[in-house]
């Protein structure tokens, strides 16, 4: 697989579809830690990419920042291959009751 020539956005999309719940994270990022705790408290096991441990991670981070306009660039959450966003969007979705149905649809949650 020719990793190098793939458009970074494309790469992100591909990575995001490799799990029901995908989180782009940094190992040292505490907000990432918070979002991971949130999902595990709901009984969800997300697929996590620690970008600071990925050789291509920096590029992905930069691209994410460009797409979302957030600072910091992580965490970014995808559910069912679709972009949910940073912690604030995830939390908002959880509070207004849209996150759980989304998770169920993606097969990340049962019951």
């Amino acid at each position: 697989m020719q990793y190098n020539s793939i458009d970074p956005v494309e790469r992100i999309v591909r990575m995001a579809s490799r799990g029901a719940v995908v989180i782009f994270s940094n190992n040292s990022c505490c907000m990432c830690h918070a979002v991971k705790r949130l999902f595990s408290s709901m009984g969800v096991s997300p697929t996590v990419y620690e970008l600071d441990q990925d050789p291509k991670g920096k590029e992905i981070e930069v691209t994410l920042a460009r797409i979302l306009g957030n600072s910091p660039s992580v965490p970014v959450v995808f559910v069912g291959g679709k972009l949910v966003g940073s912690m604030d969007r995830v939390m908002a979705a959880h509070i207004n009751g849209t996150l759980v149905p989304m998770l169920k649809d993606a097969g990340a949650l049962w019951l």
């Binding site: 505490c30 918070a34 979002v35 705790r37 408290s41 939390m91 996150l99």
Partner: protein
């Protein structure tokens, strides 16, 4: 004494000045003015109390403290009352009365209390000194304050038509006599003796009226001025108090230059003042909402008021965002909250899941659907809070690790670079702290919005009232606690 019109209008927006009216005021009402404020000065220490300018907390103190039992209480930031306390205290409960009673009820009670109190005072007043409007008999020696023409007024005014012996030195007699003469004058005309003095008398009467009017205006202006300065003083005291708190907070931190300290204090002060203003407005909106609920207004009107309260909540979150960006430690410290509220604080604000638990008991009966909605909301807000708390713990640990690494205690040029590097990393982590506090606020904001979404208008109104009352009680508790007699 003619019956007075009770000062309080049937809203909650009574100022203390209204309440401290004394009956004799209404004895004369030539211009239809109720120079309410001029009775202030009589009451010595009571003079110092105003509703308008006091920080909201103080006003809350006055109204919510169990004044009926503790007359010796010294509420926060308010100069203590003395003998007149029961009088003053009873009436101040009208000031920002909420606590679950209906607007009309409270006002009725207030009027009743008013009358009661006034009657009590009446007897003392007529027997000792009388404040008859313009006569302005004040404590001891405030006489001269009303301007040079005061004495002139006295010598001119009243007794013009009924008698010629005006004894301006004996103020008591003077005032009583004046009372009589006023009634005579008001009952239509100069029934005087001496037709030959008619012209003169008429002219004198007119001059007197004019002088009296001017004097009243001057007095009003002066009292207004006094009141304003009092308000300002109370505010300054508040700020000073806060600055002192912050001074100890900031001073123990990194030794920056003075300007940095000043900046931080300035930002904190700005937030504190804005928040105080926000609280006042919030209380007003809540009172309006309560009135609406109790008078069984239609859903549409109710919805307008609910939206008003919600929109106002959004403003505080805006304020907090600015406050967090300028001084996150101040927000986290909770020094802008009352002590009891601070005790329950989480991540720079209230805990939404707690509030929802409280609501659960007050919103019955709920349909299954509503019940489910609230349960889900409670659960999701709890989960979000826990997640943020854990993230925060990780942040604290990380900060601690950063600051404690390379603590050799040895000298060497390399260590300076290390130190700077450490500090830079630590600064980055503090920036992360700001993000966490902001997330906390977002969580709070989203929770109350969702609450209003899932409930009916009436239930949402109830919920907002319950929440607000709960906060108010925490605030009241704080005042009571700080005012408790310390042996």
């Amino acid at each position: 004494m003619q019956g007075f019109k009770a000062a309080p209008s049937p809203t909650f927006n009574l100022t203390n000045s209204d309440m401290f009216c004394q009956s004799p005021f209404y004895l004369r009402d030539n211009e239809g003015n109720r120079n309410v404020t001029s009775s202030y000065a009589d009451l010595g220490e009571l003079e110092q109390v105003t509703a308008g300018g006091l920080h909201q907390e103080s006003v809350a103190d006055l109204s919510r403290s169990s004044m009926y039992t503790s007359t010796m209480m010294k509420p926060n930031n308010v100069p203590h009352f003395t003998n007149a306390l029961p009088f003053g205290v009873l009436t101040t409960s009208l000031g920002s009365g909420e606590m679950g009673s209906s607007a009309t009820d409270v006002v009725d009670t207030g009027q009743f209390m008013f009358q009661e109190v006034v009657q009590v005072n009446n007897s003392t007043i007529t027997s000792t000194m009388v404040d008859v409007g313009n006569c302005g008999v004040l404590g001891n020696g405030h006489f001269e304050n009303w301007g040079d023409s005061y004495l002139a007024d006295h010598s001119l005014s009243q007794r013009t038509d009924t008698s010629t012996d005006v004894d301006t030195n004996d103020k008591y007699q003077f005032c009583e006599g004046r009372h009589e003469s006023l009634i005579v004058a008001e009952s239509g005309g100069v029934q005087s003796k001496g037709i030959c003095h008619d012209q003169k008398a008429l002219r004198r009467l007119a001059q007197n009226r004019e002088a009296a009017r001017e004097s009243r205006q001057r007095k009003k202006a002066y009292v207004q001025q006094l009141e304003n300065s009092r308000i300002k003083l109370a505010q300054l005291e508040q700020e000073l108090k806060r600055e002192r708190h912050q001074g100890s907070f900031v001073g123990s931190g990194v030794s920056g230059d003075q300007s940095q300290h000043a900046n931080i204090n300035g930002a904190s002060l700005a937030f504190d003042m804005e928040y105080a203003r926000w609280l006042e407005e919030h209380q007003r909106l809540i009172n309006e909402l309560r009135t609406a609920v109790n008078s069984h207004l239609g859903d549409n009107e109710l919805r307008v008021r609910v939206d008003g309260v919600m929109g106002h909540y959004d403003k505080v979150f805006q304020l907090k965002l600015i406050g967090t960006k300028s001084d996150v430690f101040h927000m986290l410290s909770g020094m802008w909250k009352t002590p009891a509220e601070r005790c329950f604080m989480w991540l720079g604000g209230f805990r939404s899941s707690e509030l929802l638990k409280i609501l659960g008991n007050h919103l019955e009966p709920l349909t299954d659907q509503h019940l489910l909605g609230i349960c889900n909301l409670q659960q999701s807000s709890q989960e979000a809070e826990d997640a943020l708390s854990q993230g925060l713990e990780a942040l604290q640990q990380s900060l601690s690790d950063t600051l404690s690494s390379n603590c050799h205690g040895s000298t060497g040029s390399g260590n300076v670079a290390d130190y700077m590097g450490q500090m830079a990393t630590a600064m980055g982590k503090i920036a992360m702290l700001e993000i966490f506090v902001h997330q906390g606020d977002l969580l709070r904001q989203q929770t109350i919005h969702q609450l209003c979404r899932i409930l009916t208008t009436r239930q949402a109104a109830q919920a907002l009232l319950v929440m607000s009352d709960y906060m108010s009680r925490l605030q009241a508790l704080s005042s009571l606690w700080s005012a408790r007699p310390k042996s």
